[in-house]
Amino acid sequence: MLKVTNLTKEYDSTLAVNNVGFEVMGGEIAILLGPNGAGKSTTIKCITGLLKYHGSIQICGFDNKSLMAKKNFGYVPETPALYDMLTVYEHLEFIAHAYGISDYKEYAEKLLERFEILDKKNKLGKELSKGMQQKVSICCALLLRPKVIFFDEPMVGLDPKAIKELKEVFQELKNDGCSVIISTHIIDSVSEIWDKALIMKKGQILFSKSREEIEHESETLEEIFFRVTED
């Protein structure tokens, strides 16, 4: 599970994330919504330890920068970052060894097949289109079988088949007890799968409710989003 308390991130005297706190339990899918520049990606980058911050972040009960926390989470960045000189399969091999996973081969092949890039397994990272690179990035994160996983705008650049497959993956991760955090600004793409919605604006969480909590309300998530984010 993930627990974020009083998270604050400042860039050159600009508050990108301001005193944010939330929790995502195991088997829960949380969506982080917000207009451009709301602080979604910065929040995720702080949680994954790519940025310095003030506050506390616990992943599976460990500090997010500890080795135990790092072993337990996966991250799909907003922009896929592949190595030019490695093939698709070599990326998975590298990640598996970096995380100390030895029995990965069968699962790696399965993931590549699922995202329809098995035939591209010997292609170099630099030869892939952006969508393909995104698929490899997703496979790398899933290969870890993480207990907490962060997706930053995961659907961007994916074809409809891959989007459908990814939505199924979200459900499977949830069923396996994984905490799933998806940052997006396309509400439609996640409207059916979320358990908890967090709406950010100007670095703050302005809305945080579970699906059950708003089920009896007359507003849809989209309507809530516009009400909360419009000045």
Partner: protein, 514 residues
């Protein structure tokens, strides 16, 4: 022109405002300007030709090689994708706006004008070196500055013009490529013919590159004539060639504009290439597109887990792009090392060592460590920070060792140096490489990683300058002490690199990804 001058002025204004927010960068810029002014001043006032006597032919050979390289790559790129003054923002916003193409072209010129000043900054560091070796007067220095400025200003125009012509049909493109190849083969053929007679590599190069025929080649020859005036003095030929360059550049600009009023299409590919170049540079890949690097299919197995995987991956990448550690950089180093002997007959082992260390600094800016930090994996990996630093820099250190060994074996063989001298020079090269790499670690530890690339390079330069002072002092104090001189430098370098490595072992607990 109003919207275009608006962009230029606003860009300048926003740059100044941005600098106000980042005082460290402002200090770096001020320091850069002061050093530029200092070097320009130094290049004018310092006495010429006081250390060694370089011949006019040696100077002519250097000028010719530089001009051939600059023009060859510019024309080659011109044929394939043209030249460009523009960024993608210009393509998306300006090219589609109701602004006269000629005004956009002038705007591009003004932008290029500012960019070429950066070339002059790097040029200013080399002039004292040239003055030490050749008889160059104050007027000569001025000629070098102005000619370099003009050369880099005209390069994109030549690229644009060539692309305007060659993009019309595949046949024209092929013909241009043929002409370029004929020129190169012609040079090689002439070299071989003369080499058979002289039997001396360096002498043959001097004869070819200082031949009168060379001077009549359009543009290259004209530029050479002008640059030779810095050592020969200003004469009628100088004025004539300046005139030829100005008139032909003016005609080329008109041709670019008149040949196709829609030149926008011609600069698209080059602009994209330029954009990719800038992105690569920011990522520490040295600007050149990795698309052009041939990648071999090699078998590889990871023999470890955790942070060691980074080292094993670097080894895999080296295997794919070269013969283990031997790649384009190694070949470049050896060519420079061997070439130094031909261009500068007085060059000795230590001279080649100093120059290779200078080049190594720039190699280190695009090394594996720098590239590694641009991807999230090293930050996310569940491994100890010290191990990450060690393994992420290990392959680069080994490569420096191999490069140094190959370079000094080749140069040592040529200079008939002893095995001990070869070995110790290689070790000095390796340890300086370690200093450069770990200074980058230190620089990130002190300044973080959120600043621009230029600032990063500049701060690293200053830090390296400070850290290597004791090594320079040792070099000076123990000059003539034989092996002791080498041993003390190596010991100091290892101590400095080791201390920095130890002090920065926890860097990944604090470092932010850009």
């Amino acid at each position: 022109m109003k919207p275009l001058s608006y962009i230029l002025l606003k860009t300048l204004k926003n740059m100044v405002i941005d600098l106000k927010k980042k005082p460290l960068i402002l200090i770096a810029y001020i320091f850069a300007i002061i050093s530029f002014v200092f070097f320009v001043f130094l290049s004018f006032v310092m006495p010429s030709n006081t250390l060694r006597t370089g011949s006019i032919e040696a100077y002519g050979t250097i000028v010719s090689v530089v001009l051939i390289a600059v023009f060859y790559f510019d024309i080659k790129q011109g044929i394939s994708s043209g030249g460009s003054f523009f960024r993608l923002a210009d393509v998306n916003l300006l090219f589609t706006a109701p602004v006269l193409p000629v005004n956009v072209l002038i705007y591009g010129f003004i932008k290029q004008f500012f960019k070429t000043f950066i070339m002059l900054l790097f040029m200013s560091f080399q002039i004292p070196n040239l003055k030490n070796n050749f008889s160059i007067s104050a007027i000569g220095v001025l000629i070098i500055y102005i000619t370099t400025f003009f050369l880099f200003l005209t390069m994109p125009i030549i690229g644009m013009l060539i692309y305007s012509i060659t993009s019309k049909s595949k046949r024209i493109k092929k013909n241009f490529e043929r002409v370029l190849n004929i020129f190169i083969f012609g040079m090689v053929g002439a070299f071989l013919l003369i080499f058979v007679k002289t039997g001396d590599f360096g002498e043959t190069l001097k004869i070819i590159l200082n031949s009168d025929y060379f001077l009549v080649i359009p543009y290259i020859g004209w530029f050479k004539n002008v640059l030779m005036a810095s050592i020969n003095g200003v004469n009628l030929s100088f004025y004539l060639n300046v005139l030829l360059i100005i008139i032909s550049t003016f005609l080329m600009v008109i041709a670019v504009y008149k040949m196709r009023t829609d030149y926008y299409e011609d600069v698209l590919a080059a602009t994209e290439r330029m954009e990719e170049f800038i992105v690569n540079k920011k990522e520490g890949k040295g600007g050149f597109s990795s698309r052009n690097i041939k990648v071999k299919n090699v078998k590889h197995t990871y023999s470890g887990y955790g942070a060691k995987t980074i080292f094993l991956r670097h080894m895999l990448e080296y295997k794919k792009t070269g013969l283990f550690f031997i790649n384009r950089n190694t070949i470049f180093l050896v060519i420079i090392g061997l070439g130094a002997k031909f261009f500068l007959p007085f060059a000795q082992m230590n001279y080649i060592l100093y120059f290779s260390l200078y080049i190594l600094f720039f190699f280190s800016l695009q090394g594996k460590w720098v590239q590694e930090l641009n991807k999230p994996y090293i930050y996310l990996m569940p491994a100890n920070s010290a191990k990450k630093v060690f393994f992420a820099t290990l392959a680069e250190n080994l490569k420096n060792g191999v490069d140094g060994l190959i370079l000094f074996i080749a140069v040592g063989f040529m200079l008939k140096s002893s095995i001990t001298v070869i070995l110790f020079n290689s070790l000095i090269y390796l340890t300086y490489g370690a200093i450069y790499t770990y200074t980058d670690v230190l620089s990130r530890r002190i300044f973080g990683a959120t600043h621009g690339k230029n600032f990063e390079i500049f701060m690293k330069m200053i830090l390296v300058g400070i850290i290597i002072v004791p090594a320079i002092v040792i070099d000076f104090l123990f000059d003539g002490f034989g092996i002791a001189q080498y041993i003390f430098i190596i010991m100091y370098n290892l101590l400095a690199a080791g201390t920095i490595l130890f002090a920065s072992k926890g860097i990944f607990d604090k470092l932010e990804m850009k």
